[in-house]
Subunit: 337 residues, 2 copies
DNA sequence: TCCCTCCGTGCAATCGTTACCACACAAATG
DNA sequence: CATTTGTGTGGTAACGATTGCACGGAGGGA
């Protein structure tokens, strides 16, 4: 049916082994033969059968990406998309394809990963979210399969990860608000079990403590990565007797919800409330007022993750198992009067 | 190394053929054997090697998704993401995985597709964008490889596609504005070569014509799927001597740019300008004012596309090669005074 | 009782590559 | 000139599954 290595061999007047050697650039092949074979391959439109190749070489040149489950409602659209672009770019550069998968429940997800690993469908796995007590990490760690986590996992300190210094990032964001003269600063968080929520909350507390400012626990609202969370948080916070004058918000999307709610109630940003978000998604530049946000180098996270995974697969030593991508506070209208 | 069908066979006291038959639910296998083998498979944590399987069966159970090139700057983040979720859901339900790929240039992209097809890396391909004179469609059509286009391709009317009735959708959006009493209505478009731009423009013109309203060509601005386009279009349109009082905007993202620009210049929506967008992304509910938008059933598009492709792969006849997903106008504050 | 049919299972070829081993021949060494 | 070293290539056995063919035994009909 389709053109195989044998067809090329016959047409070029050599053996299949020789063709295989030409493809893998074996040193002991004569220049003339190599050229002739290459020409024939192009003539016939030959491409090696990936499965035959994979069967013998035990490599698929596919990286698996496990998406967070939509069911958990913590699907960070915009963040995820940028990360994926970064992963894809680096994977392609290194000759890898990307297989994306998800599960509809935790056990389903684990089953999927087992299938991918045991069925040799991918050479390595990228986990896009990291929570504490993650059974996926546990499994991958146990069977010794190459994987990289985006974020960090306190339960498996040796697992390779790519992450921001989220504590420092939140510290910087909070510090920025303190520098503007704010004393009552609130924090709108994501789901507790995610390390990113925990870390940013820590950074916020640190900055407040260091500045000698006290935190009312009413100022800390937990939710999900959705505008609804921001909207709801806003109405709770604005009804407090002693309400904050500024907010650090876990994600720009959530901050949009806050902004919208404030607008609706006739409050003005930054006069009545200052806002700082995270992720610096492209829309943040185009709200009214534009949103101050911590740029966490989302694309670069993806890029670096793929690179780390590929190194792990080819058994190159990693000089550091925990890579930190630098962040940068982008100050815009939502936080300066 | 890893557990194979032979290990299972040995442990269960049967031949590898029998194990294979148990897996594929061959009818002529005794119930007892089937149960015993199944138990052993679970005990050993056996998963069939996907490449050995694929080599002989000539099926990979992988669908390829070709992303639009970022270089073209027509990467519709939010649209794409929802579609992908739909594709993924349906693919998983049918036992398929998803491989995503893109190219950095047109020829690179074609090369990637050739590699996927000829190298038997995927069983079928989904094209996420459809433009006129698309070399990918030409190639896939020529070699007779299963594929489905999201959108439509005027050059290949027989190719299976999943699409909206974009002419009608834009007609409805425009009609809605006309019903509100507007007479000078503008249109902010995406790249000309995309069929979606062409179709929506057609629908807009149709509605205007039918209502006996004349269109000034100054009211039609072409750009890309970016906020910048909206921002720029807005400033051009507001400087016209006879400026429109309402706009149909090709995508919500672009409409955000318009909205932001208007806010910045102190114009108010909907008093000074009414807006209708497309795609009804989740943020549209949370702008100030909330954005009226045509919901095109993005998730369902993905879902249906995967379903159609899988049918094509298994050579089931399609009762219709061109599937239309219904749209729905969601009226919000940006278009009613 | 004999033959035919059907059921459950094993044997062996096959899918398209890779990689080890062998071999012919040329060049270099003593 | 004999021997070693090296170069370019072919033959063949894997890799881990599927599948057509064959075969022994049980059951049913004549």
């Amino acid at each position: 049916m389709s053109v195989t290595i044998k067809d090329v061999a016959r047409r070029a007047g050599v053996s299949p082994s020789t063709v295989s050697r030409v493809i893998s650039k074996h040193p002991r092949i004569s220049k003339e033969t190599a050229e002739r074979v290459t020409r024939v391959m192009e003539e016939l439109g030959y491409h090696p059968n990936s499965m035959a190749k994979g069967l013998v070489s035990k490599a698929t040149y596919i990286l698996g990406v496990i998406l967070p489950r939509p069911a958990e409602e913590l699907f960070q659209n915009y963040f995820f998309h940028e990360v994926l672009r970064g992963i894809l770019a680096q994977a392609n550069r290194s000759g890898y394809d990307l297989l994306i998968a998800s599960g509809s429940s935790e056990s389903d997800e684990l089953e999927t990963v087992k299938r991918l690993v045991r069925g040799r469908r991918v050479d390595g796995i990228i986990l896009l979210s990291s929570k504490t007590k993650d059974p996926l990490i546990h499994f991958l760690n146990e069977v010794g399969f190459p994987f990289v986590i985006i974020g960090r996992s306190p339960d498996f300190p040796d697992a390779p990860t790519v992450d921001n210094d989220n504590v420092q990032a939140a510290y910087d964001a909070t510090r920025h608000l303190i520098n503007q003269g704010h004393e009552r600063i609130g924090f709108v968080s994501g789901p507790q079990e995610l390390t990113v929520s925990q870390d940013r909350l820590t950074g916020y507390r640190q900055a407040m403590l260091e500045a000698g400012l006290s935190i009312s626990e009413d100022w800390i609202v937990e939710g999900e990565f959705l505008q609804e969370t921001g909207y709801r948080a806003m109405s709770m916070l604005m009804n407090l007797p002693e309400r904050p004058t500024a907010l650090v918000v876990i994600d720009d999307i959530v901050a949009f919800g806050v902004l919208h709610g404030l607008n609706e109630l006739g409050y003005s940003v930054p006069q009545d409330m200052c806002l700082v978000g995270f992720n610096n998604i492209s829309l943040s530049e185009h709200t009214s007022p534009p949103l101050t946000s911590v740029d966490i180098g989302t694309y670069q996270i993806g890029y670096m993750t793929a690179q780390t995974l590929i190194k792990t697969i080819s058994k190159e030593p990693l000089h550091q198992t925990r890579k930190i991508i630098p962040h940068r506070l982008i100050v815009r209208g939502s936080s300066v009067k």
